[in-house]
Symmetry: C2
Subunit: 390 residues, 2 copies
Amino acid sequence: MADSLKNKASIVGIGTTPFTKNSGVSELSLACQAVRAAIDEAGLKPSDVDGLVTFLLDSSDEIEVARSTGIGDLTFFSQVNYGGGAAVGLIHQAAMAIATGSAKYVVVYRAMNGRSGHRMGQGVSGQVVTSDLIHWSWYTPFGLLTPASWIAMSAQRYMHEYGATRDHLATVALTQRDHAQANPNATTRGRTLSREEYFSARMVSRPLGLYDCCQETDGGCALVITSPERARDLASKPAQIRAVSQASFEGQEQMTSFYRPDIARLPEMEMAARAVYTQAGLGPEDIDAACLYDAFTIEVLMQLESFGFCGVGEAKDFIVDGALTLGGRLPNNTHGGLLSEGYIHGLNNIAEGVRLVRGTSCNQPERADHVLVSSGVGVPTGAMILGCAE
Amino acid sequence: MADSLKNKASIVGIGTTPFTKNSGVSELSLACQAVRAAIDEAGLKPSDVDGLVTFLLDSSDEIEVARSTGIGDLTFFSQVNYGGGAAVGLIHQAAMAIATGSAKYVVVYRAMNGRSGHRMGQGVSGQVVTSDLIHWSWYTPFGLLTPASWIAMSAQRYMHEYGATRDHLATVALTQRDHAQANPNATTRGRTLSREEYFSARMVSRPLGLYDCCQETDGGCALVITSPERARDLASKPAQIRAVSQASFEGQEQMTSFYRPDIARLPEMEMAARAVYTQAGLGPEDIDAACLYDAFTIEVLMQLESFGFCGVGEAKDFIVDGALTLGGRLPNNTHGGLLSEGYIHGLNNIAEGVRLVRGTSCNQPERADHVLVSSGVGVPTGAMILGCAE
């Protein structure tokens, strides 16, 4: 595949703001702080940057960020739709621009006042517009108004079908909360979680309780992408993109693909898995660590199957002996993830993927030669595999 | 430039709906009609398509269009911001996806009820949100609320600086209205325009009168992009992309870059010009025809200078002897353009660029080996050069 994106681009800079519950500043300010931090970390100047990509949901346009940070001319700019599904899409966009010479240094970013501003958990009530009206009219009258309510549909079916229980969900939640305790920027640092607390917490949307749901967070995250050749001249250790792909499957809706034959599986994630394994020439056995998208605990179980770490319905068995912990088969979300670091719409999980490859995670596993990162579950999404520079 | 986008992708299908003042159907319906028509015209099946790109302003999401047209899985999807500036950006996106193997057949589309629904001429009143609030607060209190009012600022300055008059603007308007008379899908077909009518029409925003402003149109337009190799196997004559680039210049705002040293020029368009000429290895002397973005007549004059067809301030002299007509130096918007065919946000100008290269325009010039197409003026934008397959 002469024309594939394998090893055509590298991530060379990470920038984050503090993750809080009340930033006290605008989303544009958070975006600019993160973008500048990423550029600084890469050892570049703002004027080196000639491409910007963000989430369609982001409130800070590329040109506002460019003007406010000292970035000058842009030869490439685009946005990706579908909430958390966009995270890997941003990297896909940047990698294409780098591979085709459309830009030299691309910064991707996401900043949100996800707690002090509009909260994800508020759902779509009062916000449904345009052609979406038709779409949502099938769901909102039945109380399906929030991300938790949509994912609960699949969760319920998955647990019924394969015998997974809330005890298995708790294992995901506790493992990641434990990881977060070593992460200075985790919003839950200092707040450990016991199995008793997990079970005594209030139900949000059955079978998902409070600790099955990710944080709502104010903060920003940005990453710098360039070519492997240019990456060699920079200060930081690059994370090379072995493979990156977007994926939307037949019958795809945004969070509500309930008319498919089987709602207990994630066909778009299985599609992304096939794409990145083929592109990288790797299989699940080659993946040392992962940052699987974790807006809800159940999503981690489902993705372990999508990416072939275990058979369909077997994730509950895969995780029991600490497989997702630092010493386990697949250390996952070593920073705490969206559940326990903060919810910057999944871009912060990609940042952790880069740290793992660099060897600088707050919970660095012994081996992290190949790290898998996915984006949003239940939406048009994507996946990528990061590795060391060749 | 081994990694440039030169000759890496071709446009192989055009689809349009009727252009009207009242479609009577939803924008999603228009989008799907245009997308299906483009796929049919290319001789493909919906299931062949694996990439979709649209304007951020479009109300029909990629997955809604995919489900409604029989397109299945997608390996690539993105959107481009900044109104009419997005048109060429869509082609840029598609070309990158094709060149990197991220998709095999990409459809780009734009559909809008631009007359019966939200009218562009209504401007931003009551629609300003989020970080844009800061931006617009500098302009809206002074009555700068609509596209005509923003462009009038540059138009006034340009005319003052270089001695262009409304008589020159009229030449642009009349030439394109004349072209539209041969175009079955032009909304102004059968409504010729005289210089007297031009001057007696009401002023919209001085110095721009009614006929200096583009149509407000209901309709959809879509294009299919694939590799030059795959294009050879298809029925239609492909238009090969010799060069394509996006461009946003330092100090860029969306329609209101009034704090730059010189508002009588278009630095982002000059940047796009340099990029496409360099990429294609061509200069203005090689361009046989053009579809210069024409939301307002003045924009055509300014772009003739940006793309080097004449010196700065000399467009008024360039156009006087029918340079923009069928037998002239640079036949421009041979379909009537946004001024007289209809306003599908500039994507319909790209469609005409393809027809010119195919030799199927309703006003086909003798020679159209290289056709230049630009997108939105006063916004982050882009340009492309189309040619015959090599």
